[in-house]
């Protein structure tokens, strides 16, 4: 009798406990919002192509950066709004002259093999990234960071330890710059600045990023990598903030064709994919909770070849203005792209931090007014249907670029009577032609490397290596240089506005639209950082709700 009672009691207790566990397991709730979480916390998304590398020193593409942010953690992170929050560093101090940054590292950050993350890991990683032996594709970014001695180290003229980084103790990391950069801390969210585990790199060489070798300090570790097919990263128990990480597993699938990706998304194989060009209106009607569009820090524009040896008509400012006026950006944004993009009358997107969009006259006219003015300007310059300009738009082979080029060529034809052909080239040939100034008009796109206007406007500097239009204006060069040493954000904002006004008048480039991120995102994926224009998203901040 006693035994039976005990047995029944025990069984009951076990059942209650079991049920309790089961309930708790199947119905975990988010600690802050209280939403019920799904039992399967796996996030699967599509990438266009296999990344060349996921080694922080070698990461060069967007997909690689996404993997990098999950596997590794840098000094600072970004929150959902794009603001800086502590990463491995709990905070930083700036010296009075603005050229020395001292980062204090937390003492509980660990690598996935248990080793503590120390300042030396950062020193090693930054030196390695600047090492000419590694030849990082992001060497130019390190130069941009203006670290002391970086250019000499990159050139191979100085040894690695002359780079302006040091670790006075295990939890202090000091960076010495050559010029006071106000946006320097933002740059530490970039993958190139992430730490690497020295012993692993030295033991395995270029194979250290394989799943069986890799050691990482981020919220996830790499568990599977099948090139051209998939990459799987899973929870890193050693991560200092592991308790707050909800997503257990992240899978990225390589799918080249965007239409096939959409089909597989609809079949439930993916949680996130890009919306194919022009499909957003239809998809947002059919799947209103899943189709997303939000601003991104990128600009799409056409270069006009204003070099000395470029076309003669390109030297005439009136012609260039007419070209820009005759582009019906609303048609492009609404009919061709239809993804909620923003028509651009200035180069820098409106959403850039610390930037005030100037009121350029062209922006507030109606398209009919613009067309009329364009025809007038062309006539003044001596061109028109009876004396047409013949030109060619160069673009790299892609469906989207082709459609926009067709639309714009038709606009110029019909409004200005020009003879416009369009020509496509495969990527490398295109880069050569564009870089050498072998074009009349060429297509270009630029994404900001950090959230500040100079990342765009520096392209207009005559010394910039990305100034494909060949634009040279002494005034612009002067005030851009002044912006670097300006004292306050307000001063800089004024300078940037001024540069945009000059650019709107002289039209070395024709801004067309500002990008948006247009995605299909499963409605059970929560907390996507739609307000982060740089789209630096971290899997550890996401979670899946139960439906």
């Amino acid at each position: 009798m006693k035994f039976k009672t005990t047995l029944m009691a025990t069984t009951a207790a076990v059942m209650v406990m079991g049920a309790g566990f089961a309930y708790a397991d199947a119905h975990a709730t988010h600690p802050e919002t209280g939403e019920v979480l799904a039992s399967d916390q796996t996030f699967t998304y599509r990438v266009l192509d296999e990344s060349p590398s996921i080694d922080p020193g070698l990461i060069e593409d967007v997909s690689g950066s996404e993997v990098g942010r999950d596997l590794f953690e840098g000094l600072m992170n970004q929150d959902e709004e794009g603001n800086l929050v502590p990463g491995v560093a709990t905070g930083y101090e700036i010296s009075d002259d603005g050229m020395t940054f001292t980062f204090t590292l937390r003492d509980n950050a660990k690598w996935s093999n248990g080793d503590p993350v120390t300042a030396n890991d950062f020193v090693y990683a930054w030196r390695r990234a600047a090492d000419p032996e590694l030849a990082s594709p992001y060497s130019w970014f390190l130069s941009l960071m203006s670290i002391e001695g970086v250019d000499d180290v990159l050139a191979g003229d100085a040894p690695l330890d002359t780079l302006g980084v040091s670790a006075p103790d295990d939890h202090t990391f000091v960076v010495q710059l050559t010029t006071p950069l106000p946006y320097f801390p933002q740059m530490t969210t970039h993958a190139t600045t992430f730490p690497v585990h020295q012993a692993t790199v030295e033991a395995h060489g270029s194979e250290w990023t394989r799943p069986e070798n890799i050691v990482s300090n981020g919220a996830y570790v790499l568990t599977e990598h099948v090139p051209q097919e998939r990459m799987v990263r899973e929870r890193n128990e050693m991560y200092w903030d592991n308790d707050n990480t909800i997503i257990d597993k992240v899978v990225s699938l390589v799918i080249n064709d965007e239409n096939v990706a959409l089909t597989r998304y609809l079949a439930g194989e993916l949680d996130r994919t890009e919306v194919p060009t022009g499909q957003y209106p239809r998809l947002s009607e059919e799947y209103p909770d899943e189709a997303l569009s939000f601003p991104r820090l990128c600009s799409y524009y056409y270069n006009v070849n204003v070099r000395e040896d470029g076309p003669a008509w390109a030297q005439d400012q009136r012609v260039r203005q007419a070209l820009s006026l005759a582009v019906n950006r609303d048609v492009i944004v609404e009919n061709v792209l239809a993804g909620g993009q923003f028509p651009a009358y200035t180069f820098t997107p409106e959403t850039t931090a610390g930037f005030n969009v100037p009121d350029v006259p062209i922006a507030s006219m109606s398209q009919d007014e613009r067309n009329a003015m364009a025809v007038e300007l062309m006539a003044e310059a001596g061109y028109g249907p009876d004396n047409p300009i013949t030109t060619e738009i160069l673009y790299n082979t892609s469906e989207g670029h082709r459609q926009i080029a067709i639309a714009i060529s038709q606009m110029w034809k019909q409004t200005l009577g020009m003879e416009v052909t369009i020509a496509n080239m495969e990527w490398q040939t295109f880069l050569e032609a564009r870089g050498n100034g072998d074009f009349d008009i060429s297509r270009a796109g630029w994404c900001g490397d950090y959230n500040e206007a100079s990342t765009f406007l520096d392209l207009l500097d005559s010394g910039s290596g990305y100034n494909d239009a060949g634009y040279a204006s002494a005034e612009v060069d002067e005030i851009l240089a002044a912006a670097k040493t300006a004292g306050s954000d307000a001063e800089r904002a004024e300078i940037y506005t001024r540069v945009e006004q000059i650019a709107a008048e002289e039209v070395p480039i024709i801004p067309i639209y500002h990008y948006t991120g247009v995605y299909m995102l499963d409605d059970d994926v929560a907390n996507w950082p739609v307000n982060n224009v740089e789209q630096n998203w971290y899997s550890k901040n996401l979670y899946k709700v139960a439906n």
């Binding site: 050139a155 099948v226 490398q428 880069l431």
Partner: protein
């Protein structure tokens, strides 16, 4: 015959060498390079990395170094695009994939194609003939890049039977759709050539004799007509097999299989010289080998063919 084979194998070596030299020159003459990107490297870094990979050497020296590495160390070099991998890694991972679905496509294309071709020829100008011809034309005319998305639409989205892509180590449900997409393009050609050649053979003198002798039709077909009829098909099969096995780029792109066809096109666009050369050599070796096999099969089919 053995001396013939030996001679052919001996000639294969200089053939591959010529292939390497021509491809190398072509590759380096195209504009751009592996380290050319929208955000260019600082000039000194670029110079350093080119020196590291030996790209600053004169072309003939690069060719010699490359051939030496391949022949002596079997080292095809590092990939310029995929920094953590070598060409050997790329091919070791991608080739088995392509070989698997290529092989099955081949079996199906030949099996179905030859059977259809023979059946159509034997029932010349009957409804079976027209149906077979119609089917093969339809299958071939529907290009890969139309069939791929359609297959995924039907089997993944609408029916939910098969995964929409990936390879998963070659599990059968990942292999089916690539095989269908690839085999249909070749099936038609094989059927047509077999049918045409079968018709010619069936009208020839020795078959007429066999029929006059009263032999049953399947004996005539299998024992007398088939071998000579297969000769043109065989000529086609050599390059067809190489084509299937070195990749259908379209299949790789739409089904995300990770095969070498896609690697080849991607590396050409990225100017990843070592991967391009590695796959070119692979294609060259396979082409030479299969053409040799086909030539030997000619001799087996037609006893009068001697080299």
């Amino acid at each position: 015959m053995y001396s013939y084979i030996a001679r052919r194998l001996a000639v294969a070596v200089p053939t591959i060498l010529v292939l390497i030299i021509i491809s190398f020159i072509l590759m380096h003459s195209a504009p751009g390079g592996p380290f050319n990107s929208e955000r260019p490297l600082p000039p000194q870094v670029l110079a350093n990395i080119e020196a590291k990979y030996g790209l600053d050497q004169p072309l003939w020296k690069q060719i010699v170094t490359y051939v030496w590495n391949v022949v002596v160390h079997f080292d095809f070099g590092p990939s310029f695009q995929y920094k953590d991998r070598t060409v050997n890694d790329v091919i070791a991972q991608g080739f088995p994939v392509t070989l698997t679905y290529g092989f099955w496509s081949f079996i199906i294309a030949v099996g179905v194609g030859v059977s259809l071709g023979i059946a159509a020829a034997l029932r010349h100008n009957s409804w079976l003939d027209y149906l077979a011809v119609g089917f093969t034309i339809g299958a071939q005319a529907l290009p890969n890049f139309v069939m791929g998305p359609i297959l995924i639409l039907v089997f993944t989205l609408w029916l939910g039977l098969l995964p929409g892509g990936g390879w998963n180590g070659g599990q059968w449900n990942y292999v089916i759709m690539p095989v269908i997409a690839l085999s249909t393009s070749y099936m038609a050609s094989i059927a047509r050539i077999t049918r045409s050649s079968m018709l010619e053979v069936m009208n020839s003198g020795f078959i007429r004799t066999a029929r006059a002798k009263g032999l049953p039709m399947n004996r005539i077909v299998l024992r007398h007509a088939l071998k000579p009829a297969l000769l043109p098909t065989l000529s086609y099969l050599g390059p067809a097999f190489v084509g299937m096995v070195t990749g259908s780029v379209v299949v790789d792109i739409y089904f995300s299989t990770g095969g070498i066809g896609q690697y080849f096109v991607n590396s050409a666009f990225n100017r990843d010289y070592s991967v391009i050369m590695g796959i070119t050599i692979l294609v060259g070796v396979l082409t030479i080998f299969f053409n040799l096999v086909v030539d030997i099969l000619y001799a087996w089919i037609d006893p009068k063919i001697r080299y």
